[in-house]
């Protein structure tokens, strides 16, 4: 019931926010903030509580579960369940939701009621995606988060908002439909095999599929998730959507929406198609490594600051894809940290870019320069997040990238080395963000620039603390997801967990592969 309430609070909160805007927009904001805040605190309580529950396994044992028949004729259930992985994702969702409301506080004045309605409904959709175990329900939430996002970009975005919103919608919708086809096929194949027609993930996992069919069905899911992630060559909606969206929209897009793709890979693709995953793994790692390098290259090329930050997401999410298909405990644990760390660090960079744009009304990098003297606090925070984004140890992104690359190295030396080159590329674009804007000779038009106000400092301060916490003591996060990951990898019958695999056989391979890589 708790799980349903979490979604319910956001949906009802959304309606209330919309209604209240008729009388008082300040009330609207507070309602939205409360809705996210209550959920955040609630999930934190669950998190603290679950430490006493020893076993959180991927399937079978859940921290919380909610199951109600929904459309019984078709075997559709309202089946939500929470384990360590989804718990972390939910905390991230509500935290970034909370932050997004605060970010929009003064920025959004037009149709504020409808704005917060959309914001909360996106969050509700994302929450549902992170909880649903019924594939139909999953698809339902997948669509729910799409439409309000379309409005958010299309109505409150910047200059080319309509183009960006269309593009975002078409990419996600088209790929989503392919996934729906796969879901339906799986549903019918399973029904034909067992006589039980159901969308229940735990049961669909037992479907026996021929290897070619399995590849085919997996492709439907994969495309939907790779578009969301996004992986090269499906990334083109992202720079436009991120750049044109209002700041809160960019935060949610980068921080949460992309994560639903990664989550989908872990939650659905791995358990449903274990053999096909194994077959696809090298290609998955290849796409991941390509995304890292190509994303970084494009980020470095940009002249629009927000677009630059947008492309860094492509690069960072490439690590996620790489890690997922490395298919071992170390790498996938890293993936979980990467999802959280990227959500925070890129979110913070978007907030910084947003507050710069509010002040100087431009995003052209060449228009900036030497701002550090004028806005020391903003500069220092930008420095911290630029360093986070290049993977400086001490911050969350480093833990993530280190684990992903160390794990990948055990699966494929070549892709690990290829991706590690991305660290150098990340240095180039991250330094560009910081140095071009805040260092160098001061530009003249910055005379009236004011530093961060208290609200912005509060938002970014929390994010700074979190990114360091994640970098210096990520154990709580790692422990929470550890069992889930273990279960997911075991379920997929992949025994690439280090320690079990005799390194001797790796040894011969490594020597050869390194030479290819160097």
């Amino acid at each position: 019931m708790t799980l349903l309430t979490l979604i319910g609070i956001l949906m009802i909160g959304g309606f209330l926010a919309w209604l209240s805007a008729r009388w008082n927009t300040s009330l609207t904001r507070w309602i939205s903030l409360m809705a996210c805040g209550i959920n955040l605190i609630w999930t934190l309580f669950i998190w603290f509580g679950q430490h006493s529950v020893p076993a959180i396994s991927a399937h079978g044992q859940w921290i919380l579960e909610y199951r109600q028949p929904w459309i019984e004729r078709f075997g559709i259930q309202f089946y939500l369940a929470l384990d360590g992985l989804s718990l972390l994702m939910l905390m991230l969702t509500f935290f970034l939701g909370f932050i997004s409301v605060l970010v929009s506080w003064h920025q959004i004045r037009r149709h504020a009621g409808f704005y917060y309605f959309n914001l909360l409904w996106i969050l509700a959709g994302i929450t549902g995606v992170f909880l649903a175990l019924d594939l139909f329900l999953f698809y339902f939430f997948w669509e729910i988060m799409l439409i309000p996002m379309y409005f958010l970009i299309g109505i409150w975005g910047y200059e080319k908002r309509l183009y960006a919103a269309y593009k975002f919608f078409l990419f996600t919708q088209a790929s989503g439909l392919l996934m729906f086809l796969s879901i339906l096929s799986l549903y019918f194949i399973h029904g034909a095999q067992t006589g039980v027609y159901t969308f229940d993930l735990t049961e669909l996992m037992e479907t026996s599929l021929s290897s070619s069919l399995s590849l085919f069905l997996m492709a439907g899911f994969l495309i939907a998730f790779l578009v969301k992630l996004p992986a090269v060559p499906f990334h083109n909606w992202l720079p436009d959507a991120h750049t044109e969206a209002p700041t809160a929209g960019s935060v949610i897009l980068a921080g949460l929406l992309l994560k639903t793709g990664a989550y989908g890979l872990l939650r659905f693709v791995l358990p449903l198609f274990p053999e096909a995953v194994l077959e696809f793994a090298p290609w998955g790692m290849f796409l991941g490594a390509i995304s890292i390098l190509y994303g970084a290259k494009l980020a470095f090329s940009q002249t629009d600051l927000k677009r630059l930050v947008a492309y860094t997401s492509v690069s960072h999410m490439g690590f996620v894809l790489l890690g997922v298909f490395a298919l071992n405990q170390v790498a996938v644990q890293g993936v979980v940290i990467q999802m959280i760390a990227h959500g925070i660090s890129t979110g913070a960079l978007f907030i910084l870019v947003g507050s710069l744009q509010e002040r100087v009304h431009t995003r052209e990098i060449s228009a900036f320069g030497g701002l550090w003297t004028k806005v020391p606090v903003m500069g220092s925070i930008a420095l911290i997040f630029a360093m986070a984004s290049l993977g400086l140890p001490g911050m969350g992104n480093f833990i993530a990238e280190f684990l992903i690359l160390a794990g990948t190295f055990q699966s494929s030396v070549f892709f690990s080395v290829m991706a590690a080159v991305g660290l150098i590329a990340a240095t180039l674009y991250s330094l560009r963000i910081f140095q071009q804007v805040f260092q160098g000779s001061p530009s003249l038009r910055m005379e009236t620039l004011s530093d961060l106000n208290l609200r912005e400092m509060f938002i970014l301060g929390i994010m700074v603390i979190l990114i360091f916490w994640l970098g210096l003591y990520p154990r709580p996060a790692l422990d929470t997801s550890q069992k889930t990951i273990h279960g997911l990898l075991q379920r997929s019958e992949i025994s690439a967990i280090p320690g079990e695999d005799p390194p001797d056989h790796a040894e011969a391979g490594v020597g050869i592969k390194i030479q290819e890589g160097e």
């Binding site: 090329s301 400086l392 140890p393 001490g394 280190f402 690359l405 080395v417 140095q435 280090p498 490594v510």
Partner: protein, 626 residues
């Protein structure tokens, strides 16, 4: 007593946090107190721990705090490990660091970024201590990148000048290339040993990786990549001369005494791995020999006093690499220590000179400063004598002599390496005393802008004393039986045994290198005091060679073609992302079909009938033909 290690690291970080967060609320004297105190206390603690440790140097001290992260079998902790090697580095970092902080109080007193400066300096000390005290390679890497960040921030300390910003970026990116190689090395080690704890690795490597095996070779090459980046050795040495854009105390602390020797530390720390890869060891020695010659010859032509010292630093670290490569571990670390004293001294003294000369860096616009700044002169002379390895009385002589002797007589030594080192000794003496004669002698007389106060003079005097006397704790065994240093270090590092044991030969070699030094000093004297028109004439005559050396053998130009141009090209090409064109094309073709097909929907019955007829015709044709 030993649990104090944690506090040694803690204080600099606390100092950084306070200064970083409360900078604008603190008075200048508060900033100085916190900034210097948070290094001074660790220096004292190090003395305490060190004295305690000297009584019983066998065995290591581990201090665990918390487990950093854990995934699979990877579970690095925030754990410190103290052994003789680490203790020597900690001592240098805190002690020399403290003196430099003290100096900075006066040196930086009129700078707007006073608090910011001390915040970064404290952060640097903390990170450097992590680097040398880490018990696992991931934690070491944290310190490794931390010092890189501080180096970046302090090179670009005066960030309004685009040149400084560029230099900072160059340093960060170049070292980051090395770091990436190192981190891949870490992955390789982890993949094969399932741990990154240094002691466990060192114990496991010889049993698993045979001497000369390809894995050991790859592993050590990858770590070496990190080391040459951080320590500014061939081929990644290009960032260090530019790094002189930072304030002089920064150059003294980071770019001379401590951070740039991190590569030496890394190799010494993982020496077991390098011993399993004899080819790589030889490579290390060759890199060292080449670097010391290339940087030494470049130093000969520089006019900027800090650039001379920068090239000299590269060259001296070359000596350390040479020592590491021939397995003279103790000699490398000994030279690191002595070098930290005299090079920090030289940079600090140079800083005072530059300040007195209204921020003039060009030595040839100075001259005659001997009388105006006597204390600076004498301390500078002490440092210079040590750098040039003036025989018997300076520490530099003893540390360099050990390297030169072992580069010939050591197990892995040979005459070519010795020759390079000895030639380097001559070059070193020339450029060092060229600096002395040009800066402090001559007829020119300049008004000096200010008189250095005690906070500047005391560190200089202390360092000058150490530059002279530090050598007496370790002397060549043909002269006296003093081996306090190597006796201490041998608990961490294997002892290097000369293969040739002929005292007569050793005397001869010492005589040769002494002659080299004295000859170098005389050459400098002859060329810059007696016949100063000669070098000017040569500069004119061989201007191309001079330019070549002035630009550090033109490595920057090489990399401009090899790296910068391609990267710039890459960033400019495909800015719009060609993949986007594909999607746009899809959209456009849809629209095109749309407009085309809309035309058929025109409401004219004739058109429709004709369309139907054509369709029928087409279908019939297909049926008949197939």
């Amino acid at each position: 007593m030993q649990h104090l290690i944690g506090y040694i690291v803690l204080f600099p970080f606390l100092g950084f946090l306070v200064l970083f967060l409360l900078n604008r609320y603190l008075s200048k004297s508060m900033v100085s107190l916190i900034g210097v105190g948070s290094v001074g206390i660790p220096a004292l603690l190090t003395m305490l721990v060190g004295l305690n440790y000297l009584n019983d140097p066998d065995g290591t001290v581990r201090v665990e705090t918390w487990e950093w992260f854990q995934a699979g079998s990877l579970d690095p902790g925030i754990t410190f490990l103290l052994d003789p090697l680490a203790l020597i580095f900690v001592f240098i970092v805190t002690f020399v660091g403290f003196l430099i902080h003290l100096y900075s109080v006066e040196f930086m007193k009129n700078d707007d970024g006073y608090g910011r400066f001390f915040a970064y300096m404290n952060l640097f000390i903390g990170s450097m201590l992590i680097l040398v005290l880490a018990d696992n390679l991931v934690f070491l890497y944290l310190g490794w990148e931390g010092v890189g960040l501080c180096s970046f921030l302090l090179i670009g300390f005066w960030y309004r000048d685009p040149e400084n910003v560029k230099a900072a970026k160059k340093a960060f990116v170049v070292t980051r290339i090395g770091d990436t190689s190192m981190v891949i090395g870490l992955f390789l080690l982890f993949a094969h040993f399932q741990t990154l704890e240094i002691q466990e690795l060192l114990a496991a490597i010889p049993g698993k990786w045979a001497e000369g095996s390809s894995l050991a070779t790859w592993g050590s090459i990858l770590l070496l990549g990190g080391a040459v980046g951080k320590s500014a050795q061939l081929p990644l040495q290009v960032w260090l001369p530019d790094a002189m854009a930072g304030p002089s105390p920064v150059s003294a602390l980071i770019h001379a005494a401590t951070m740039v020797t991190a590569g030496v530390y890394l190799i010494a720390r993982t020496h077991v791995l390098f011993l399993q890869a004899p080819d790589v060891m030889e490579g290390v020695a060759i890199i060292g020999a080449l670097t010391l010659l290339i940087a030494g010859t470049s130093a000969l032509t520089q006019t900027d006093i800090k650039k001379v010292l920068a090239y000299s630093t590269i060259s001296q670290i070359g000596y350390m690499f040479l020592a590491l490569g021939v397995g003279a571990w103790s000699a490398a670390v000994f030279h690191f220590m002595v070098h930290a004293f005299f090079k920090a001294l030289l940079f600090l003294a140079a800083g005072a000179v530059i300040l007195a000369m209204h921020h003039e860096h060009n030595m040839f616009k100075m001259g005659g400063l001997r009388k105006r700044m006597p204390v600076i002169f004498w301390t500078f002379l002490a440092g210079a004598a040590s750098l040039a390895a003036v025989p018997l009385i300076t520490a530099g002589f003893y540390s360099k002599d050990a390297i030169l002797w072992l580069s010939f007589a050591g197990e892995k030594g040979n005459s070519a390496l010795w020759l390079a080192g000895t030639a380097g000794a001559f070059i070193t003496a020339v450029y060092t005393f060229r600096m002395i004669f040009v800066t402090f002698y001559g007829k020119q007389d300049h008004e000096t802008a200010y008189r250095p106060g005690y906070l500047i003079l005391i560190p200089l005097i202390v360092l000058a004393v150490f530059s002279m006397l530090a050598g007496f704790i370790e002397m060549p065994h043909n002269m006296a039986h003093v081996d306090l240093f190597s006796g201490f270090v041998q608990f961490s590092l294997p002892e290097a045994m000369p293969q040739i044991n002929k005292p007569g030969l050793e005397w001869l070699f010492q005589g040769i290198s002494s002659l080299m030094t004295l000859g170098g000093i005389f050459t400098a004297y002859f060329l810059y005091l007696r016949r100063p028109e000669k070098p000017r004439q040569w500069a004119h005559q061989y201007s191309r060679t001079r330019q070549f050396l002035l630009e550090g053998w033109k490595f920057d130009r090489l990399y401009r073609y090899l790296v910068i141009r391609p990267v710039t090209y890459l960033s400019e090409v495909n800015r719009e992302d060609f993949i986007d064109r594909i999607y746009i094309l899809m959209a456009e073709s849809t629209r095109w079909w749309h407009t085309l097909l809309v035309k058929t929907q025109n409401g004219r019955v004739r058109w429709y009938i004709m369309g139907t007829a054509l369709g029928v015709l087409l279908i019939l044709a297909i049926i008949i033909l197939i």
